[in-house]
Structure formats: C-alpha cells, structure tokens
C-alpha cells in the first residue's frame, strides 16, 4: 500500500464535513495533506508546520505509543500554521503503516474547516480571512516552545531568536554573543544555497556552537517566502539529550521512503522474474518411478511452511525441485529470493542475508535490506548451503528458530516470516562430523530432506530429456535440428553423466550448434568414452586449466605466440598466457617437437 492508496482510503473520512486528515511521519512532520486541508490553507505541507499534541517536534515516542495503542484516542491538539499561528482542534492518531512509520492524523471539529464545503466556491485565498481570529490564532508558538527557534537570513545572520535559547545552551541568553550552526553536512551558511534550490523541510543532525561550548541536537530547517515572517529561514533546534530517539530522523523523508520502496519493488519483480522465469511444472520430464517418488515428496511438503533440504549431486536439478515446491506452495504469489551461498564472499555474507544500517561498517553508505527481509512473506532458496561460513551458521539457525533477524549495525530484532528451502551437493552429515557444519543447524535444516537422484539412476528418462532439450534449445538457438542417430542415443543411454542433467543439456546444446543438417551432431561425445572414466572426478579449476593449456601446447607444438599458437587457439593475450603458464609451472619447451 502506498501513500496514494491511503489517500483514497481516507478521502472517505472527508465525506463527513467534521473531519479532514493528513498523513504524518511519526515525529509529527506532515508528509501529505488532504486536498481539502490544502485548499483551505492555500498552502503546501511545508507551510503548515506540524500537528502535535505536545507542541514540540521530535517527541516521537509519545506519539508513536499513542498510535501503537491502536485506539483512536481523541487528543486536544494544536495545528501550527506558518510557523507562528496556532489553531485548536481534536485529533485522533492512527498508525497506518508500521513499516513506513507513517501515522494518519484525523482532524476533527477543526472549527474553521466547518466553513469549507464543496459548494463554497472561491474557497482558496478568501477562506484565509475567514479564520476566526480567536485565542488560538494569537497564540505564539515561538514564545512558549521549549525548543530553540531562530530566524535568519541568506547570510546566516540571526534576526530573531526565542527565549528558549538560554534553556537549550544552558547559558544566560544575554551572555551569548556568538552563535554558529553546523549541520552534519557542513556549516549551515554554506548549505543555504543548496537548500534554497530544493525548498522543503530538512531535519538535520547539527551542532550549535556558542561561546559557552557545543550543544548537539537536531534542527528542522524550513523556508518562508511570504511576508508574515521576518526572515526567509527558520530553524527549530532540539538538544540530543532531550530526545528519545525512536528512529533516524534524517531517513524520515517520504521521498526517500518512496524511492527505497520503488527500488525494492523493482528488485522484487526482477527477482521474481529471474527466479521463476520460464518455469512451469509441466517442464518436468520423467517416466522414472524413482523420480516420480521424489516429485510426490515435493508435492507433499510444498503447501506447508516446513523447511526443506534438497541434496543430490551437482547438475541434478535441485533448483527445479525448489521451483516446483514454490509453484505448488501457498506462497506461490509471493516473492522467492534465491541466494547462492557459494558465490558470496564470507565477509559480505551477513550483510547480504540480513542487511545493514547506514554506517555499520566502512563503505556502508546506505541502509540495505537483506535477502531475508526482502523475502518476508515469501520463500528463500539458499543454494549451496554447505558453503555457508561456520561463523554465519548460528545466525542462520536463529532465523530458522526464532524467525528473527538483526541488520548489521542494529541490534533491534526484525521479525520475518520466510519459508526456507536449502540445497547442497555436499554431504552435510560428513561436514558435521568434520566440524565444518554445525550439528544443530543441520538438524534444523534437515526436517524434510529430499534427495535428488543422479541421472544415471533414471536412465529411462534420457531419451525423453534429449527430446525435451532439443525442442527447448532449437527454440533458443533458432535451429531446427530434429533427429538423433541411434548410436548416439545409445551412447547417451550408457554414459555415466557425472554432470547429470546439466551435462546432458550442454551436450545437446553443443550438438545442435554443430549440426550441419537436421540431425544432431554428437560425434564429439565419443571422445568422452575414452577420456572420461566412470570414476570421473571433478578437477580443481587450476588443475583443469593446466591440463587444458598443456593439451593445446601439445597441439601447437609448444608455440605460445604468433600464428597457429596456443594464445591464438585459446583466444587470450600471449602475455596473459605466459604469466598463467609461469604460475601453473608449465614450460612450453617441454612440448617442442
């Protein structure tokens, strides 16, 4: 629900002429005014300064508690207009969106508002004069405020200050002859031009420097273009000591919230798209009773919130099972967030999963929401869970047990409701024995284990899968390769497929690319027969690279650069190749012939 939705909802309140409303952040600053209020005051949110029962801004805690109570408590209150005029009214506060920390203030029996009705033609400017100039109107906020209020001009020269100054800086006002204001962005006077270019309310962390010392606090900076105030800038300052911090005031601008929301929504859509793009339950291809049993397990657990652990060799299609669980679950219309624990650097893991606050660590220049928070209400897929660093494991355990996360740099727990699907090709039980995976986490993940069988245990599916991938890849590659030689299919049926379904798909893709007719060219797979033993082991990346470079060097008879050389075959820069060879301890002289 965005602010615009709330607006539509609360317009209903205005059908009763006794009510109008505005949407405020929890510190009482106005984020959005109803049209009736706006037209009545002929003004913008910046001019109506605040609505607040205490007549003191930043008294968030109290307001928030009121809103938290869930009751529409009627409060006698004042509305501050043009910084120095006050109107009496009754308000009811209602928290409308705890996440965005917004309240709605229903304003009731606001005496002057009664005069405003849709039939009241020229209501805008004229109505300003109709405000009853009673006691409320002559009430001067500046005089009675316990906050320091300063008016100053373009040069930063202070034109007017209220008596509260002495309270704030704890010094007799007559003894203060120098006053400097410094915001967290720099000296105030230097900021004024920027602020003028984009006039709105700024709430800034700032320091007041007087000849009696420094006073830290928050200032709210506003602009006045009319004649009713003596200077264009007004600042209201409150000491840090007097504030019960209930949030970060700098983050409270609605624009920022909306911007962040947009980013999240966009990302959610992207994630949804990426995660489930092109996936349909009808894509599953099998005749194998064993695999059908696995699918039955998937369907059995899908509509619960139970944690699922999918195990099985690499390339068996663990993500396909995850997608199936998601599609069959009651959360299928919510988000699914996929995280590959193996691809995230250990030091970034915590902030990736749980998010971080601004300034939590060097380089954390923005608040960031973690994957778990993003997945709230939906599903998270933790691929390669076996790669999760051991120091992260207790934190994940906590999410699984308590449903709570903590952003890095903020100890306040955040409740999340996330269904967890984890997957790994590693044997977690062995890892537990070796001490690299926590036993308690293993048990918590292993509630509903699903073992995905390797392709060699469902050989009856190979012809079906070949057909399926040929259809799919013909479309992708824009080809029309329809046939496969009997002996090629025979080979595929016998082959061990250490890389499982993924390997089969890659073989078919290569075969289609190489096909010169409408028959798939699988001549290259026969090399596999000689080169790959059934006990094929996955080589480490460097070993594989070394073996490959040696193979090419043999082919080109040790020639590294120039025509028909290894660097040409491998399509890399010869200098890069030479440095690689040095690193891998390969001497081209060994391959001269």
């Amino acid at each position: 629900m965005g602010v615009s939705d709330f607006k539509v909802l609360f317009q209903l309140f205005e059908t009763n002429e006794k009510y109008t409303y505005c949407i405020c952040s929890k510190n009482g600053a106005i984020e959005s005014l109803s049209d009736r209020m706006k037209s009545f005051f002929n003004t913008s949110p910046g001019v109506i300064f605040e609505i607040n029962p205490e007549l003191s801004f930043l008294d968030w805690k109290k307001i928030w508690e009121l809103a938290d109570s869930g009751k529409l408590v009627k409060q006698e209150s004042k509305v501050l207009i043009h910084s120095d005029k006050v109107e009496s009214c009754n308000i009811k506060i209602w928290k409308i969106d705890p996440r965005k920390e917004l309240c709605i203030y229903l304003i009731e029996e606001f005496s002057s508002l009664k005069d405003v009705s849709p039939n009241n033609g020229n209501q805008n400017a004229q109505n300003l004069e109709k405000i009853p100039q009673g006691e409320a109107a002559t009430f001067n906020y500046d005089e009675i405020s316990r906050n320091l209020i300063l008016y100053f001009d373009d040069q930063g020269k202070i034109i007017r200050k209220n008596p509260a100054l002495s309270k704030v800086v704890k010094e007799d006002i007559n003894n203060i002859n120098k006053l400097f204001l410094e915001t967290d962005l720099g000296p105030l006077t230097e900021m004024l031009d920027d602020f003028k270019a984009n006039p709105k309310i700024y709430t800034l962390e700032m320091v007041i420097r007087t000849n009696s010392g420094l006073t830290k606090g928050y200032g709210r900076l506003t602009f006045h273009e009319g004649n009713h105030v003596p200077a264009p800038f007004r600042i209201e300052f409150m000491r840090s000591d007097d504030i019960v911090l209930y949030g970060n005031p700098v983050e409270n601008s609605l624009e920022q919230i909306e911007k962040l929301n947009d980013i999240i929504e966009n990302q959610k859509e992207l994630l949804m798209e990426e995660a489930t793009n092109n996936f349909s339950l009808d894509e599953i291809v099998t005749q194998s009773p064993k695999y059908k049993d696995i699918l039955a397990q998937v369907a059995q657990v899908a509509d619960t919130d139970t944690t699922v652990l999918i195990t099985g060799e690499t390339g068996t299609g663990k993500e396909l099972l995850c997608n199936s669980i998601f599609r069959l679950s009651d959360r299928s219309d919510k988000i699914i967030v996929k995280v590959n624990c193996g691809s995230i650097p250990a030091e970034l893991m915590e902030s990736t999963l749980f998010g971080h606050e601004k300034g939590a660590f060097t380089g954390a220049d923005k608040q960031k929401i973690g994957k778990f928070e993003l997945a709230d209400g939906g599903t998270i897929f933790l691929d390669e869970i076996g790669e999760l660093p051991i120091q992260m494991q207790p934190k994940l355990l906590r999410v699984l047990q308590e449903g709570e996360i903590e952003r890095v740099g903020n100890a306040r727990p955040i409740q999340v409701n996330v269904r967890v699907i984890a997957a790994t090709n590693r044997n977690l039980e062995d890892m537990v024995k070796a001490g690299t995976f926590r036993q308690d986490l293993y048990y918590r993940l292993n509630i509903f284990p699903i073992y995905n069988i390797p392709l060699r245990e469902r050989r009856e599916d190979i012809p079906l899968l070949v057909q399926h991938f040929m259809d799919k890849l013909n479309k992708k590659l824009g080809k029309n390769v329809l046939n496969i030689k009997k002996k090629d299919l025979g080979f595929l049926k016998r082959y061990t497929f250490p890389g499982n379904v993924r390997e089969l798909q890659n073989i078919i893709e290569r075969g289609i690319v190489m096909a010169k007719s409408d028959t798939i060219d699988l001549s290259f797979v026969r090399e596999y027969d000689e080169n790959i033993s059934p006990e094929y082991e996955v080589l480490e990346f460097e070993e594989a690279m070394k073996a490959h470079i040696i193979k090419v060097l043999k082919m080109v008879k040790g020639k590294v650069s120039g025509k028909n050389s290894a660097s040409e075959v491998l399509k890399i820069n010869n200098k890069t190749l030479i440095s690689r060879m040095k690193k891998l301890d390969i001497d081209p002289k060994d391959y001269y012939k």
């Binding site: 349909s280 009808d282 291809v285 059908k292 998937v298 369907a299 059995q300 899908a302 599609r327």
Partner: protein, 104 residues
C-alpha cells in the same frame, strides 16, 4: 453425499441432468504416464482433504476417451471445476492446491 464414479459423472454430465446438489465438483483428467502424475495425485488428495464441501473425481483419460473429446481436453492434467452445476473453470497443465481452492 453420493459417491461419484467415472460412469456416474459421465451419465450426469453427458445427459445434461448433472448433479442434484449444487456443491462444487472438481474433475481432474490425468493419466499414469504423464510426468507429473505423482504430483497430481498428492495435490488431488490434499484438495479432497481441504475442500470437504466439494466432490473430487479423477478421470483416467486412457479409459474415458469420450469424456476427453466432450470436454476438449488437450493437455494433461486438466482440472474442470463445476459450480452450481455449471462448468466455471478449466485449468490446463499441472496445478497446485491453491490454484483450485481459490475458485471454490
């Protein structure tokens, strides 16, 4: 509630008389040889357990070719939902429990 068999339903649906009560009727066309047969089986059982007000019937398409023709079943599985004795929804392809229950 009366038990529904393929024969029963065939008679009722094809004769146009249909069922006497107005409770929802869910008819699932499936076959053992389709890839998602085991999923369909589990999902149908879950629907039966959760939608007590509805009758759920599985039709083996190999045995009931005439119904396949009559209801123009092009894809397996297909789920037909009858409400107030009218066909209201047709779900083609593998469906979830939620896909069906949302229409009841």
């Amino acid at each position: 509630m009366q038990d529904y068999t393929a024969d029963n339903i065939k008679n009722e649906i094809s004769s146009g008389i249909r069922r006497s009560d107005k409770s929802p009727l869910i008819v699932v066309f499936t076959a053992n040889w389709i890839s998602s047969s085991s999923i369909v089986k589990v999902v149908v059982n879950k629907i039966k357990a959760q939608a007590a007000q509805a009758s759920v019937l599985e039709i083996d398409t190999d045995m009931n070719k005439d119904l396949v023709t009559k209801y123009r079943i092009h894809k397996l599985p297909t789920c037909l939902i009858f409400q107030d004795q009218e066909l209201t929804h047709k779900l083609e392809g593998t469906f979830s429990k939620k896909d069906v229950l949302q229409y009841l």
